[in-house]
Structures are given as C-alpha cells and as structure tokens.
Symmetry: C2
Subunit: 194 residues, 2 copies
C-alpha cells in the first residue's frame, strides 16, 4: 500500500511540478499573491493549459465508470426534455406525475409517490403547482378521509396529450443521439428500474 506511483503522465506535458509542500495560502482568492513572475512562457504548449478544444484531456481513469456516463447522459436527456417541452413549461417530474395519474385515476398521493420513487413531501408542492394550473385535482377519497384521489382535469387531459406528443419528439432526439437500436437496448437494460 501507499505505493506512490508517480504517474509521469502523458499528454505532452512534462509538468514536473516540484513537490512543494505548499501551504494553504491561495484559498481566499484575490489575495495579493506576490506570485512568482515567470512571464517567459517557454512551452506555451497549448495542450493541457488551454482547454479550448475541451476534449483533448485524457481521462482514461473515468471511462469504465458507469456512474459517470449515466450522470452525463441523464443531464443531457433532462436538458433536452426541458428544452423540448419549454413551450408548455413542463419538467420531467411534472410530466411523470401527470402521466401516472392519467393512466391510473384515483390514486392517492402516497401511491403516486411510491410508484415514482419521490418523497410524498415533495409531491405536495408538485401537485400544488399542477393544481394551480388546473391540470390535476385532489378529490377527497370516499373510503379514506385522510387521502386524496388524484385525477386529471379535462384541461389536464388535453394538455397531457400535447405533452406526450412533445415527449415523443424528445425521445426521437434521444434516438438520434445514441442510435435507435441503442435506445431500445438501453430501455431493455434499465427496465428493472421503471
């Protein structure tokens, strides 16, 4: 253990930084650094310092990590969803809530929250906004006076139909990005999470 293997790194940068025990001086920013003056840039290598290209940095160590790829993909996919449904101002979570209610009218908030894996505390605000926009309505349950039966309003139903059309367009974007068959495969692999 503790085999301090000095990666000499690759990527055309012989940085060779001295170990420099380096104190914590540079934390607070904007300090009058009195830094070393080395204006003469000898190498100007343009490689690692200037990431203008942005993709020439080898991060070999991150490939092979599923979480990283999934995080980046999820970011991309949510941004595209939001952008594609920007005209109707619907976010992914709102869409999923309306979809579940539309497919299963009368569900309680607890059931919806459990099904979607979101906290019931959070669902409260979600439903507040959706109810304000007259998309869903909380109807007092006949059998349990604690719970609400969730339904789409008439306006919510027609709205959801439009949302679904836009969501289908978003899915086409996904297919364009990773390939139609890859998208199918992905859905199959992750089916156990839906």
């Amino acid at each position: 253990m503790s085999s301090t293997t000095i990666f000499s790194l690759s990527l055309g940068r012989a940085s060779l930084t001295v170990m420099a025990s380096q104190q914590k001086t540079s934390r607070k920013a904007a300090g009058t650094q009195a830094a070393i003056r080395r204006p003469q840039a000898r190498a100007a290598n343009s490689r690692s310092q200037r990431g203008d290209a942005g993709d020439d940095i080898g991060l070999d160590a991150l490939v092979g990590h599923a979480g990283y790829a999934v995080r980046r993909f999820q970011l991309w996919i949510f941004q595209d969803f939001i952008k594609t449904l920007a005209t109707v101002d619907i976010r992914p979570t709102q869409y999923s809530v309306m979809t579940v209610i539309g497919a299963n009218p009368g569900l309680s908030q607890m059931a919806v929250a459990k099904r979607l894996g979101i906290e019931r505390a959070r669902l409260v605000h979600l439903l507040d906004s959706l109810e304000e926009r007259d998309f869903v309505s909380r109807i007092a349950s006949a059998t349990d006076r604690r719970s609400h039966a969730l339904h789409l309003t008439a306006r919510g139903r027609t709205a959801l139909a439009q949302f679904k059309r836009l969501a289908a367009e978003h899915e086409r974007h996904v297919a364009e990005k990773i390939g139609k068959e890859n998208r199918e495969r992905l859905l199959q692999i992750l089916a156990c999470f839906t």
Copy 2:
C-alpha cells in the same frame, strides 16, 4: 421490482431510528371535528384506492421513456457509490475531480470544469473542500497568473488509490444489478458522453 425506496443510508447522519417516535397523545380532546374537509365521495373512479402493494400500478405510459429509466438508474447508482465510499466520505463528483486531476496534473480549473461538464463556479467549492482535506493543491500557474495548476498532494495520491479500489467494488455492484454484459453494453452505448 423493488420500487420501494429502500435508502436508509443517509450518509453522515446514520440515524436509523425506524421506530416510530411515540405520540404525544394530544388527541385534540374529543373533537368530533365534523367536516372541515368535505368527505364528498362521488366520482366512482375505477382504480383501487389501496396501492399498498406499490407495484400493481400500471404506468404503461412511462415505459418507453428513456429519461425516466435513466433518472431512476442514476439515482440508484449514485446512492450505491456514496454508500460504498462512505467510509472515506467521497462523493461521485469529488471522485471524478480527483481522478481527472490525478490523470492530468497541472490542469486549470477551467479545463477540469469543462472536461467534467460542471460549472467552474461549482468547482471552486469542490476544490476548497478537497484542498482542506489535503488531497489536491492549487499551485499558481507559471504561465498564466489568473489560473491555478491543479495537482494531487502525496496524500491525495494514496487516497485516490484507495478510492479507486472502492469504486471498483461499486462497479461490481452495478454489474450485479444489471448484469455484467449489460453493464458493458451500457458503457459502450454511452461512451459518447464520457
């Protein structure tokens, strides 16, 4: 299946008090509170109110949406990562930052941020905490007095080695969850996002 959220992890708190805290028995004192809320019951909905099973709810409308499956998967994968690396108190983003710096010493904050797709404003706090723990160090760049050259400290290098072992264990969890070959396929499909 297992749609019920089982996270009990709560890094940092470890308050596994699942037991219900005792009530105060302040029962509102014989209040036959009549209808503040109208129990109105009509609407004869179809579905059953009791979604206690939690998995009998058909959400046919959500299958086929890549974003939903990816979101759930990303949640699961991050939770497992955090839990697996809880002993060293390292979160996914911190790990990715250290990994990139370790593989490319001397990078600027801008380059790291761009490479990982995170905001440079956010990277500031990330690096603050990592520098506090003596894992990375910001060294004044010789060529550009605006930027910092990021390096792992000696302690950071040995720490990262351990993090990588734990991360590998986490990857094994992923393989167990979705299957070894499915994980490979997933990485291949999402390679364009790394």
